[in-house]
Amino acid sequence: MSTDTLAAGLETALPTTLFRFATAGSVDDGKSTLVGRLLHDSKAILADTLDAVARTSADRGFGGEKGGIDLALLTDGLRAEREQGITIDVAYRYFATDRRSFILADCPGHVQYTKNTVTGASTADAVVVLIDARKGVLEQTRRHLSVLQLLRVAHVIVAVNKIDLVDFSEQVFRDIEADVQKVARELGLGSDGVADLLVVPVSALDGDNVVDRSERTPWYTGPALLEVLETLPAADELEAELESFRFPVQLVIRPQGALAPDAVAAGLDVEAYRDYRAYAGQITEGSVKVGDEVSVISPGHEPRITTVIGIDFAGQSLQEAAAPQSVAVRLADEIDIARGDTIAAAGTVRESSADLYASLAWLSPKPLREGQKVLVKHGTRTVQALVRNVTGKLDLATFGVEPTSTLELNDIGHAQLRLAAALPLENYLHHRRTGAFLVIDPIDGNTLAAGLVKDHPGDHEDERYVI
């Protein structure tokens, strides 16, 4: 591509939007090849990297007489990983098309798949799950889909890979598609209004239906994988449309005379900003306008109602802002507000609670015990918590729940926690940001679990949580 046509392309294409997706599957499913294919065909791989990969492919005799490059090498990891022959954890990769910039969280399959899938899926707008067309839906597929359902990923795309190795058979694809739908039905995935599900036949090795639609699958009339990724709405877009404005306060901006010298030099009215006070944060869902009535939620207070009188962003006064913008909000009334408080659309937040009913994805080698003291980080607030009881562990393959009193690394289960302060907890099902929390080890500070608020405690009469 010449510089001129590229420049013309840039002008018409800007601004692109951001889309985050993750891949889940094992090495055997051809995941590395698929990721390599996306990077390669979208021209994200530059010549020096490609040269190195071509040299290594030749050294290892890839493709035999035919030659060619081993696309899986494009995602080759750290030396520490090569030495042990394993993939350590999620790697982030970047590529762009005319329409979108992509952030790809490449999640390794075999080792600690729950930990990696949970991590990758927590920020993903979509997750691509790979299936080997020769093997169909395996137990691992069920596990992956189960985790994605739990994490409320907005779009799940199942790529039925190696379709070339089953002679592009429509029957094989349709059978696998039906199996995927059956699993999805058992899980409620794709039918509960939260997520949608798409099944695409691909050959990562040859590129069929990855970037361009393939002529070798005439029976498949849907979009190629990249087309899907370019057109699905990002989670931010969906979250910005919600009516429930949520704004966890990160810090108070109150310069008290310590104004930025560059702003003053640019003509900032020093007198007018002497008593400036605004609440800085990132809008986690919904939108806010100047003049909106909002509730301020702080522990130990009834929600206090006030009005938004200004939305500032680095010298700009905005009339309106939406998720995921980082802004500073000014309020009409002098209210004592600190980090950890939440500003929300008036009347949309339920009563704060110190009883937390949650699903926990346990990510630490230290098991969870009943009676254990932990820290819970929710939004911008961290509080102490007591694990009252562990009420069950999910069998990700059968989707059943087994009784247990402990959770170990890569388990997903349910627990009830008592918090040292009441928090504005919301059901993760509908609030992917304010329904999420971290469980942290107070001793060494490590992250123990990803937490998902299950239900509002007001919905439960029983002391012991019924699943």
Partner: protein
């Protein structure tokens, strides 16, 4: 055994859903918002953060984001520069002007002082970039910084591709890739014990092209050597090296005057220029978008030492 599903409706295999009506933030707006959120989290949760500032484009963008995060207040932390002693003079000048303009405190860790005291030895190849780790850790410990912002990006290198946005370092500054905390949603865990500190990388998710588009959009000033200029250079290791006090041509290396610019600005002894006629930021955006070489592959001798050069340096406490 109960199941955790209740309904059994039919699943429709959905086609791609139409985009909703709300106007979407551009990818730069989204990345900017994410970076500002991270910068504010670190300032709120740590006692004494500092920002690594070299005058290089990524650190300039970081500082710009910090000014936006705290407007109309001052940037509430000092900047830290690890000076190799082999810097381009115009970059040092730019650094000092920037610090003055924003009213910041500048902390300098000096590689030269460590060499003079015999606590570091000059390498045979004359490259000083890998020597920065010791003065960096020394400055962190002496100033009791508990969080250090860096402009590292995951697209730069495969070791960086696996690093967290908040990366915990032990008392030796070491990065342990096998023992990283999972990073979930936008909830960052900055807990650390005495002696540990955290490296924070708010622009982890930016690419080189994002950086340049942002510099263009925000009209951010950079040291002049990022733009095409005439310079006396000689060819070494497939790169154009500037003639200067610390990078002298060998007898067989011819010095010529070329129109060049720098894609990265580091130590003069290991940073190469690229032939370019991109005199403005708009020219650079076009050039970077069309480039067929990675930023480090094209311009950094230190990353060519071995395939795992960055991985090794990071484990030892490098940026």
């Amino acid at each position: 055994m109960s199941t955790y599903t209740t309904e059994e409706p039919t699943v429709e295999v959905a086609a791609a859903v139409d985009a909703p009506s709300v106007e979407r933030l551009s990818s730069l707006d989204t990345l900017e918002s994410e970076a500002i959120h991270i910068i504010r989290e670190v300032v709120a949760e740590f006692e004494k953060p500092a920002l690594l500032f070299s005058g290089g484009k990524d650190s300039v963008v970081m500082l710009h984001l910090a000014t936006k995060a705290f407007w109309p207040g001052k940037v509430p932390f000092p900047v830290l520069h690890v000076d190799t002693g082999h810097n381009f003079p115009e970059v040092i000048d730019f650094r000092d002007r920037t610090v003055e303009r924003l009213g910041l405190k500048l902390v300098v860790g000096s590689v030269q002082e460590f060499i003079d005291r015999g606590e570091l030895a000059e390498r045979a190849d004359g490259t000083r970039n890998p020597l920065q780790t010791v003065p960096l850790l020394d400055a962190i410990q002496r100033n009791k910084f508990d969080a250090v912002f860096g402009g590292g990006r995951r697209d730069e290198d495969k070791a960086r591709a696996k690093e967290r946005i908040l990366s915990l370092r032990d008392e030796f500054g070491q990065w342990d890739p096998r023992n990283q905390r999972p990073e979930l949603w936008n909830l960052y865990n900055g807990r650390h014990t005495v002696g540990q500190h955290v490296r924070a990388f708010p622009i982890s998710n930016w690419t080189e092209l994002d950086i340049w588009r942002y510099i263009e959009r925000e009209n951010i000033e950079l040291p002049g050597l990022y733009y095409a200029h005439e310079r006396e250079v000689f060819a070494r290791d497939g790169m154009w090296r500037a003639v200067g006090e610390v990078s002298q041509p060998l007898p067989h290396e011819d010095v010529i005057t070329k129109l060049v610019r720098y894609r990265t600005v580091g130590d003069m002894s290991c940073t190469g220029a690229v032939e370019s006629d991109a005199r403005t930021v708009a020219d650079v955006v076009v050039e970077v978008a069309a480039s067929t070489l990675t930023e480090r592959g094209a311009t950094r001798a230190d990353d060519r030492i071995s395939e795992a050069a960055m991985e090794d340096r990071k484990k030892d406490g490098y940026f």
